[in-house]
Amino acid sequence: MKPGSFTVTAVTNSSNHTAVHAAGLVKTFGDFRAVDGIDLEVHRGEIFGVLGPNGAGKTTMLRMLATLLSIDAGQASIFGVDVAREPHRVRQLVGVTGQYASVDDDLTATENLWLFGRLQGLRPADARATATMLLGQFGLEEAADRPLAQFSGGMRRRLDLAASLITRPPLIFLDEPTTGLDPRTRGQMWDTIRGLVTDGCTVLLTTQYLDEADQLADRIAVIDRGRKVAQGTPDELKESVGDSTLQLQLDDGADQALARDIVRSVVGIDPVLTPESGRMNVALDVADRAADVLIGLRQAGVGIVSVSVAKPTLDEVFLALTGHDTGQAEEPAVEVPA
């Protein structure tokens, strides 16, 4: 990273395999450094996930790359085209689907797509044909002429994504594409996103869900407080925290030090213990080892109030990577009373 170093030519030092290249990106709002020196390299044809809690700077970073926010320091290019220098070119290469559906409530679905097509230079007839085709592809043909006020959240997201694909841009930005969607709709959205890559697109998406990044992304960058704290494949990321987590609530009178020693002897690593609440989290490489831990505790007479085995949450990934939690209340795992 070389902050403040700018390339003079429009085509920067990114290779032919690079879709997005960013070096030392910075965005400040007053004293707050929302994005604090992020480097990013997204390869062509991959789904790249940017994972982080609310307020980590994911959306700000994406908006800078999409020319929606100015870049305070650092440099970014899309397929070799400099973002700050040639925003109009960059806009022709990127389809942006925002966190909040950016479609017009006062128009119907067809009218929305027709307008966006016209704005991007399609002839009226072509704009109409493209609108019809996309509405069919996204299962919205029946709602084509309905006002958007009657659309469900999932339908609006699909329309929003369809609107980003009108000119078939080679790069798609998706800002939290499934936040607030029900599980079934989320699954449909995932299929659609996978389909984009089959089509030859590159996808850069942000998400708060480890699960989503895991399902979709070829590679993941974890962002925290405006900085990139980790990057790798989903497997590499999960290995850093184990495949699943055993969450224990120890009995009030339980010997916490003894419990920790037992866990260490059984699975070989230290549990994360919160002494005040008596909560203990144990990262497990395989879920099977949970039984071994429980048997060990029972034999030593350590009382347990509740037990659950969960996939590692974003919180735990964060804890493992940054040493602090996301600051968000995670949905509690289903607990089995002991």
């Binding site: 020319t67 022709q92 017009d104 609107a163 078939r168 659609t192």
Partner: protein
Amino acid sequence: MSVIAPVDPAAAVARTRAHPSPAETLVQTFSMAWRALKKMRRNPEQFFDVTIQPLLFTAMFAYIFGGAISGSVKDYLPLMIPGIVAQTVLTTCMATGVQLREDMDKGVFDRFKSLPIARIAPLAGPMVADVVRYLIAASLTFLTGIVMGYRPGGGVLGVLAAIVLAIFTGWSMAWIFTWIGTIARTARSVQGFSMMILFPLTFLSNAFVPVETLPGWLQTFVKVNPVSHLVSATRDLANHSTVSAEVGWTVLAGLVVIGVFAPLSVRSYRRHL
């Protein structure tokens, strides 16, 4: 997902252009105007100000001030109708700024910003559509006047010319309010700020009273007020069918306003990014 050839990034990069062409800008502006017209049709309350205000203000002002200022309602109409035309058209401009501000807060503006379109298109589009509103406002004011007994000496051509001038002036003045729309933080503040400009401008003019009745210091301001020029020009056209120097001053003022505030608006809209 589709059977069309896969997306080719290299070809896409080669196709890109650094700037929108003037022809593209025009198509984009008219597409945005189409959107604004659709919205108007679906939200008819947007027409309240341009329909009710001409009817209400014309009747109200004529009966209240007519006797006092001109001796009778009928004699007051040739003086007042051009004043109401100017006032209504300026109020309509104000709505342009307020609506732009409201619109810019919506998610869809994020998409407009992310699309490869001329930055002026989302600003100029609604203003093109607003020509319809100026047309309604100006025509309805004349019509109300005629119903109340106003017989414009300029005839049909004079009145039509006056309406065209009012539309042009309205359209150019709207750039001021569009600019306010791009710098203000909320639609409400656009409204408040615009009122502060509008009220002195319309009332401290020759729109409703003869200038000679005003104190000297006020006459000085009234004479340079662009609204006075618009009102005088409208009177000359509608009542006498004369294209006076006032018409020239009004058109010049309009062009100056566009020349100053259109670039300012685009600059401030860009900065919003």
